[in-house]
Structures are given as structure tokens and as C-alpha cells.
């Protein structure tokens, strides 16, 4: 399942949707709004080009399912205003064996961060400041090019 939503989600409920007796291994990545010590923020705002982002997420799901032989995969991304410590993004990968789902889960979050039409803003008082892309996120994504191609 691919979902872009303003709503919060529950990890146990999302697991139940993907849970199957044919799988022995599930890997989850959960990103939340971190209280940065250096950079005092009240929360974040997430902007999305939804039609494009859905296409991009579906392509990531398809590529990773083929490459790692996943049984299934969930990607949920929140949009809009989020407070400190709220959930932002959830990736769940399911497979018969663990190495596949662990590697695929990391690939998915790394690719999402570098390649899906979502933009983060720091909320400081009434201001929303666009967050710059981190070089290390781009480098991490590029490091997969040998694995996936």
C-alpha cells in the first residue's frame, strides 16, 4: 500500500494489513519529527506534488519488490503541519527471509528521501523555512545505483 496522508497511523494496524503467514520477516523504518537541539523549531510542514509522488512511490515499490523478492511493502508519508515527535514516514517490507526485507527497507527510505516530490519546511514561530537537501542523503541514494541496476 502507498499512501500520502494528513492522518496519523498506528504501527500495529499497518502491520496487520501486510501480515501474512507466508512471511517470516518484516522490516520497518519510521521517521518522526526530531527536536533539533541546535535549531529550535516548533514543528515541520510537508509539501507534496501528490500525483507525481504517488507515481514515484509506486515505482520504488515495484523496483524493490522485484529486486529483493518482497511479498509486500507499505509506504505511508504524512503531509501538512506536523508537531515535534509526530510520525512523518513509515516503510514496512515483508519477505519470507530477513536479509531481503531489511535491505529493501533501507533502499526504499534512502530512495524516497532523494527522489520523491516532497519538501520539508521548518516551522519557526509563524515562519516556514524550506529545508535544504542534505548531501549525505543524496550520496546515500546514489550508493544504491550499483545494487539496483
Amino acid at each position: 500500500m502507498i499512501k500520502i496522508t494528513k492522518e496519523d497511523f498506528n504501527l500495529e494496524e499497518e502491520f496487520k494489513k501486510i501480515h501474512s503467514k507466508k512471511n517470516g520477516a518484516y522490516s520497518f523504518f519510521l521517521g518522526t519529527v526530531r527536536q533539533d537541539i541546535d535549531d529550535n523549531i516548533n514543528g515541520i510542514f510537508l509539501e507534496c506534488y501528490e500525483d507525481l509522488a504517488c507515481n514515484q512511490l509506486n515505482k520504488i515499490k515495484k523496483d524493490s519488490t522485484q529486486k529483493w523478492n518482497l511479498s509486500d511493502c507499505t509506504i505511508i508519508h504524512r503531509i501538512g503541519d506536523l508537531k515535534i515527535s509526530e510520525k512523518i514516514v513509515l516503510v514496512i517490507t515483508a519477505a519470507p527471509h530477513r536479509s531481503d526485507c531489511i535491505e529493501a527497507c533501507e533502499y526504499i527510505i534512502d530512495t524516497l528521501k532523494a527522489n520523491v516530490a516532497l519538501w520539508k519546511f521548518h516551522i519557526k514561530g509563524k515562519e516556514k523555512e524550506p529545508v535544504n537537501q542534505k548531501k549525505k542523503d543524496l550520496d546515500k541514494y546514489l550508493s544504491w545505483s550499483q545494487v539496483i541496476s
Binding site: 527510505i109 532523494a114 519538501w119 524550506p130
Partner: protein
């Protein structure tokens, strides 16, 4: 011919709108559009010189600037993404 242009992230903040509808009488390519926009607003000069911005036409990344545009097309200007 009507072309919608969508703006995201700092581009949207700077131009103070999320999208804009442009009308052109002639047939045109994306390269023609770029020149038209730069003529209308010098802001676009900065945008089209910024190598980090990607351009999408109807949800597909533009790889050839000579691609023809059609009535109702949607073009998006995408700064580097920062989700996750």
C-alpha cells in the same frame, strides 16, 4: 494554448503562488516557453540557470528541451526534494 505551471518549495515561496496559468497563441516547445517566461519575469532567469531544479511535463521529467507542448499541459518546477 493554456499551460499550467506548478511551483514547489522555495520557488513557490519566492514567487508567492503555488501555480499559474499561462496562455500562448503559438505552438511552442519547452525551450520556447522558458524564453517567454524569462521575458515576462526575470525571476525565471534564476530558475532556469539553477541546475538543481528539475522540470516535469505531465508527471514526466523533461530530458529534451525541444519537446512540444500541448493545450492543457502541466509543467512543474521541482527544487531538490527533502521528504522522509
Amino acid at each position: 494554448m493554456k499551460i499550467t505551471i506548478k511551483y514547489f518549495s522555495w520557488v513557490r515561496v519566492k514567487i508567492q503562488k503555488s501555480h499559474e496559468l499561462f496562455e500562448f497563441s503559438d505552438e511552442m516547445t519547452f525551450l520556447n516557453l522558458k524564453n517567454e517566461l524569462i521575458n515576462k519575469n526575470s525571476f525565471f532567469d534564476e530558475i532556469f540557470k539553477d541546475r538543481s531544479i528539475k522540470f516535469f511535463l505531465n508527471l514526466k521529467e523533461i530530458t529534451d528541451e525541444n519537446i512540444s507542448l500541448n493545450d492543457g499541459d502541466e509543467i512543474a518546477l521541482l527544487p531538490p526534494v527533502t521528504g522522509g
